[in-house]
């Protein structure tokens, strides 16, 4: 494999960074029982904030912190409207998705055309020397390394720690968690805030390492919705969600690589490819939950039914039972 192929495969991991941060953030948020539907807007807003603050302060850390703060604030607004004021999470999330996008373009307009600043690539000593894998995985920016660690850390936290068990509890059966002494609503605020902060880091990572803020972000607009779909597709599991993210970025990348082979088709047509795949993926993971499939299966011969049911069950994901439902302690 020549070096240009290796570096382009490496760039898939770099591009996936923002998506990973957002997917893990949303996974944590939804595990806690709250849906942050604003991602498409909040990612663009935090991309703008990260770039603007890093440009003003000449400091990447300040940019990321500001973006994380903004991401957390947007998410907390949804939590407050839903937990505190009992408004529909879907409604609030949707409006915020629209409003934060407009806000990003409105407040970000003065920063269009500012000099590009990109996070430096820091090869990890020794590990980057490994043939093939080294240059692909370990010649990245610091935040890309964080994205690898985040996947593992989120997995361990959710499934292997006591705190993670409570996190699952407040999303699955909040009343049971409450009886066990968990302050359900406070924990939901905390996890929604943390999840939003990760989304913010993802947004800033996009404008500071993948593409600079240019007031349009045409390749980025729409990714927020895909992130929400990947979270479902990944079954609210950090590792499966991460695999979904890499798959998505790979597809996007292939769309760009294959474009020259089809010069008669407009380049933006192929970029749409992830969306029909998103629908198909959601169809596969959800169809086992529908009544008519149950009814149809019941009429089939035993061995056929068992095989189909097994396949459907393997594909099936089930959302946290209390997702989107406000908790009230009686």
């Amino acid at each position: 494999m020549d070096s240009s192929t290796i570096s382009s495969i490496g760039s898939i991991f770099a591009w996936a960074g923002p998506v990973i941060f957002a997917v893990i953030g949303e996974t944590i948020t939804e595990r806690a029982g709250v849906m942050n539907l604003s991602l498409n807007g909040s990612l663009i807003l935090t991309a703008m904030v990260g770039f603007a603050i890093a440009t003003i302060t000449h400091n990447f850390l300040a940019g990321f912190l500001a973006a994380a703060l903004v991401g957390a604030l947007v998410a907390l607004l949804i939590a407050f409207m839903s937990i505190g004021l009992k408004q529909s999470q879907v409604a609030v999330g949707y409006v915020l998705a629209m409003a934060t996008k407009s806000l990003a373009y409105f407040m970000g307009a003065p920063y269009v055309g500012k000099p590009v600043i990109l996070l430096p690539v820091i090869p990890i000593p020794f590990l980057s020397q490994i043939p093939l894998i080294g240059p692909i995985l370990f010649k990245q920016t610091l935040l890309t390394y964080f994205s690898y660690l985040l996947i593992i850390a989120a997995y361990i936290y959710i499934f292997k720690t006591h705190q993670g068990l409570i996190l699952q509890g407040i999303g699955e059966r909040p009343s049971a968690a409450y009886v066990r002494g968990a302050n359900v609503n406070l924990l939901r605020y905390i996890y929604v805030g943390v999840g939003g902060a990760f989304v913010g880091v993802g947004g800033a990572l996009y404008s500071l390492s993948v593409k600079t803020w240019n007031g349009q972000l045409s390749g980025f607009d729409g990714i927020g919705w895909i992130v929400l779909a990947i979270t479902i597709f990944g079954g609210w599991h950090p590792i499966k969600g991460a695999l979904g993210s890499y798959l998505f970025v790979l597809l996007q990348y292939l769309g760009i690589v294959l474009q020259p082979l089809m010069p008669q088709v407009n380049s933006r047509v192929l970029q749409v490819a992830p969306f029909p795949l998103m629908i198909l993926a959601l169809l596969f993971v959800n169809i086992g939950n529908t009544d008519w499939v149950d009814r149809t299966l019941a009429g089939l011969p035993e061995n056929v039914r068992r095989t189909i049911a097994k396949v459907l069950r393997a594909l099936n994901t089930r959302q946290p039972a209390a997702l989107g439902i406000p908790f009230e302690n009686e």
Binding site: M81, Q87, Y94, V95, L103, Y105, F106, P276, I279
Partner: protein, 367 residues
Amino acid sequence: MEMTQKENTQIKNRRSIFTTLLTNRFSNLTLAVIMALLVTFILIWLMDANPLKVFAVMWRGSFASWDSTTQVLQAWVPLVLATIGLMFTFTSGLWNIGMEGQIEMGAIFAYGIIRIYTGTETSGGVVILLAILSGMVGGAFWALLVGLLKNFGGVNEIFGGLGFNFIADAVMLYLVYGPWKPAGVANGSTKMLDKIYWLPQVKGTYLSLWALGIAILSVILVTIILKGTYFGLKLKAVGKNNKSSFLLGIPTNRYMLLSFILCGLFAGLTGALQVTGFNHVLRNNISGGYGYLGLMVGMLANIQPLVTAPIALIFIALSKGAAGLGIDLKLDSNLSGVIQGCLVICVLMMAGVRRLLTVKGKGARNG
């Protein structure tokens, strides 16, 4: 003891003035609007601009001249049509985010019919009528797909709808840059329609009274269907409590599909009118974000079809007015989206506060 009682009454009285302000529907709404304006003023001020000047420019941009007013009315047509369609899905408790793609499909179907008939003997009026009908079919078809995915595939209509929006985008791009592009140029738009396929316009403006009339009739029609028929009542029951309605014998799945189809018909109508009434071409972005904006207008209208008309007018005036901000004040025109979003959030927030206070009040009385 007496002292505390007196204090209690005092606190209650003070509380009651404050609560009345928050619980009265009108003052609650006024407070929400003031809050939204306050937030917007701060944001504009943060951008080193004078908020009052900004609103003056926006007012001038939308209502100062006959020319701009007709443009506002022209843009009001697609927004109010999109919103009125959404009343069906909102009533049955569904989120038709796929409106945008359904408008595009309506436009594609309408243009397709006109393309077929261009150069034939058929009279312009008949072709326009056929185009509008076919546009409605196109919109309904695209909406039906989302509904089927929801009912039979378990795919949430939000993701189904969004997915189909992007697919409609791709179909549109493929057509206008591919088979339907005018000879020689590829600029994201088809050839202009022959004048006989345009809906008549008011002299010297872009406004088509036909389109305006169709929009007004649609608002009245949907109000009658939703507020005055048994069907509307049943649809509302499905939206309020799906399970109970099913147990009471309403085929809920069929009603949900039907609400998608009805919504799609209006989306298609919107797209067809964009082609024959205003743009006179098929082009990329012909749906103009009206589907997405319509959802916000619909949220504010709170399933009251008649209310959609004035709210849509305010929203479209904000959008049109903001277009001039770049030239006059060097501000980005996306400010309109910020104001619209703030408005909806503040109204939802105050509605939440109102609900909280009234529920608490009831609880206290019961206790």
